[in-house]
């Protein structure tokens, strides 16, 4: 078995044996969908005339996938460094790319399973999401989104030294970003300065792109913009993550 396959298997086992994280990753975003979906059931957004679910479903899905990517790698990296597991890996001939590659494959897999589960629930008559013809374009966008947010999570995991710090830093980044990027409520109903400001957040590009792909709210240009924005964030975060990576907390 290659080092990469072994690390992926170890990560997969650790993940599926952790009931708390499984709940947080898969059930928690669904809970948001159920709550918002039932509150705004059958209502439309005044400014655009489109149903709420067309905003909320792609928004909460994007947030859920991004959140899982940030938290997942943030916790693992902090824990591996704190427990000296990174030093163990460092003392083997395994390259860093195998370590990061295994986490990447795991994160993409989790993101896609989240998306399938989430969309399947949103399509139920109680929520009433209707998929546009180009829905499958959401897949490459989600993969790019996982890439960008995984890199962000790696930076969080590098600077945080305790689980509490990971949770605090990641929440400080993700909760305001989710609101300001329109994950939980339609930005169309917000002041225009806030709509402009939202473009500084990577989650906005994921929201906007996934929303266009799933519900047909925009054009192909919106999807291209989403993909380009996420790729740019992935490059910047990835470069910072590699630059700041540490094998150990000790010098």
């Amino acid at each position: 078995m290659s080092a990469y396959a072994a690390l992926s298997a170890a990560g997969y086992r650790a993940y599926t044996r952790d009931k708390t994280t499984l709940f947080f990753t898969f059930a928690f975003p669904l809970l948001f969908l159920v709550v918002f979906g039932l509150i705004f059931s059958g209502q439309t957004v005044e400014e655009s005339g489109r149903p709420y679910i067309a905003y909320i479903a792609p928004g909460v899905l994007s947030w859920g996938v991004a959140n899982a990517a940030v938290f997942g790698v943030g916790f693992v990296l902090m824990q591996w460094r704190r427990d000296d597991l990174l030093r163990v890996i460092r003392m083997t001939p395994t390259p860093l790319t195998s370590v990061l590659g295994s986490r990447y494959v795991l994160a993409v897999g989790i993101g896609l399973v989240q998306a399938v589960l989430f969309v399947a629930v949103a399509l139920l008559p109680a929520f009433g999401l209707e998929l546009a013809a180009g829905w499958w374009l959401a897949v490459p966008l989600l993969v790019l989104g996982v890439t960008a947010f995984l890199a962000l999570g790696a930076i969080v995991g590098t600077y945080a030294r305790t689980p509490e710090a990971v949770a605090a830093i990641a929440n400080c980044l993700m909760v305001p970003m989710a609101f300001l990027s329109g994950s939980f409520f339609p930005l169309d109903a917000m002041p225009s300065w806030m709509q402009t400001l939202s473009w500084i957040f990577p989650l906005k590009y994921l929201n906007n792109g996934v929303s266009t792909a799933l519900t047909g709210s925009g054009s192909g240009a919106d999807i291209a913009l989403g993909a380009a924005g996420l790729a740019a964030f992935a490059l910047v975060f990835g470069a910072v993550a590699l630059k700041t990576f540490r094998w150990s907390d000790r010098t």
Partner: protein
Amino acid sequence: MPTADPAVELSDIHKNYGTQRAVDGISFTIARGEFFGLLGPNGAGKTTLIEIMEGLRRADRGTVTVLGHRPWPRDTALLPRIGLQTQSSAFFVRLTAREHLATVAALYRAEPAAVDRTLARVGLTDRAGVRVEDLSGGQRQRLAIASALVHDPELIFLDEPTAALDPQARRELWQVLRELKGAGRTIVYTTHHLDEAEALCDRVAIVVDGKVTALDTPNRLIAAGSAATRLVVPADRLTLEAARALPGVTTATLDGDAVILETADAGPLLAAVERAAGGLHGVQTRTATLEDVYLQLTNQP
């Protein structure tokens, strides 16, 4: 013990943490196949020195050669030839002992069959299916040692490998270590069990305040450190006054129910004690141990 092809060669190694001199000019050579002990109080610089040999830390000054390579920066050609006992916390979470060791083996690209063989070697076969979080302290330690052996390295670093083990497990590990030495492996290890160092090590280095204060075979260190032999005689058979009058006695003290005699030459004194105490029944002879030498050299009471 200079050899043409040493396992480890340290030359004038220095390492500071801020103003603290953790390693302050250490040089020695470890031969291939040697069992080498690093002894010293906590904070003496042993762990830093081992980490420099492993390539986990960079020395501020001096040169390190390990199996003919420089361990710093990370050299992936050298790493599979080195094994190191990990921290007893350094396990992949929520895996069983076997799954963890199989992951480590794959990281070293070792053959999969080595996993069960190594678990058997450290006595963990019947705990192979237990999650790492549920292992006892001694079992975790044995799993950490297994990580050092699973890829069959030439040079093995062990950091207090017997610290959390019960006497039975400790003796079993001694046997494992002797077999590794018998197979030609080089072992560098630290311990606070001086009886163990005396029993296992070819040579020991005693490190105090970042410097090597003594380096030799345990026997030669003991011989050089203290020539005194102690005789312990039951107090009801020999009075303190009579003891002081015996030939060759340097000091005589009463300790509970025994008179303790110190001498530089045990032979004639034993004969005299036999006459004065009416036989040698119940008389014990105690020669110096590595522990005596160690305490002397580290200035501990």
